[in-house]
């Protein structure tokens, strides 16, 4: 029971680490953003998992159900998703500008160009 009860959280940790790995090990900026989004979604799953009650139903009052899942995490994550896409779009816009300025979206090449300029 104890092991089964924590399975959700372990999967969420695995997903989070997948996103984390993409962010720190890949040099491509678009891929980094996808990694960040995977990371973000894993946090969403953590929150929603916490709000779930076994045998509960969606928090829409119908008068028939007695147990509802916790609505608070839903509210927080609902807004977080929309804010997440807005900030992702901002990041993608930065990538587009970086590509226009440097001609590449690979981190190594950008660093190399900046060092050349500094010399």
């Amino acid at each position: 029971m104890q092991i089964l009860g924590l399975y959700n959280y372990w999967i969420f940790i695995v997903l989070m680490m997948c996103g984390f790995y993409v962010v720190i090990s890949r040099g491509n900026l678009v891929k980094k953003l996808v990694g960040l989004n995977i990371f973000q979604t894993s946090v969403f799953i953590l929150y929603i998992s916490m709000g779930k009650i076994t045998g509960g139903t969606a928090p829409i009052l119908t008068g028939t159900a007695t147990v509802y899942s916790n609505p608070l995490p839903h509210v927080l994550i609902l807004t977080a998703i929309v804010v997440g896409i807005a900030t992702t779009a901002l990041g993608l816009a930065l990538v587009v500008r970086i590509n226009e300025a440097y001609g590449t979206i690979e981190e190594d090449e950008i660093h190399a160009q900046s060092e050349d300029e500094a010399l």
Binding site: I13, L15, G27, I38, V67, A112
Partner: protein
Amino acid sequence: MLLSLLVVTALAVIRLRDLFAVVMLFGIYSLLSASLFVVLDAVDVAFTEAAVGAGVATVFMLGTLALTTSREKTPSTHKPLLPLLAVLVTGAALIYGTSDIPPYGDPGNPIHHHVAPRYLEDSADEIGIPNVVSSVLASYRSYDTLGETTVVFTAAIGVLLLIGGARRRRSEEPPRPDHEEDA
């Protein structure tokens, strides 16, 4: 089951080098997590995730790929060992931390005994609408939502400032010297 599919998709995102496929997989990943949210009773969240993740986010990322490049270069200087080590250590620490988390789905968890019962019990009398998520979103926590709306607004201003105007520099300036050739 859904969780395992999510993990498989995330691993595929790590392995693939074709960014077009990565973006498509990300759309699938979002759709999968939306179905997971339905299973977890969060219908509103699932709705948003399906529309945002699988719809709009994919279009934005494809738009970026069209403006840049759709092929990731093979990293030459990056060594995968150090990031892998960092990830494993962090993951192990987090898994150690879950031993203190109360079990999944238990109605006795502390999260269900703070403000949530008040929302669920009094919302029908105070607000009078059946969807508790809406009433918490727009009434009980409306400061929050005002802030979130302002963040979305600010992000739009940022995007428009960055890439909203016409492109001028490319036509006026000579193209930058290509540093690949120097090396």
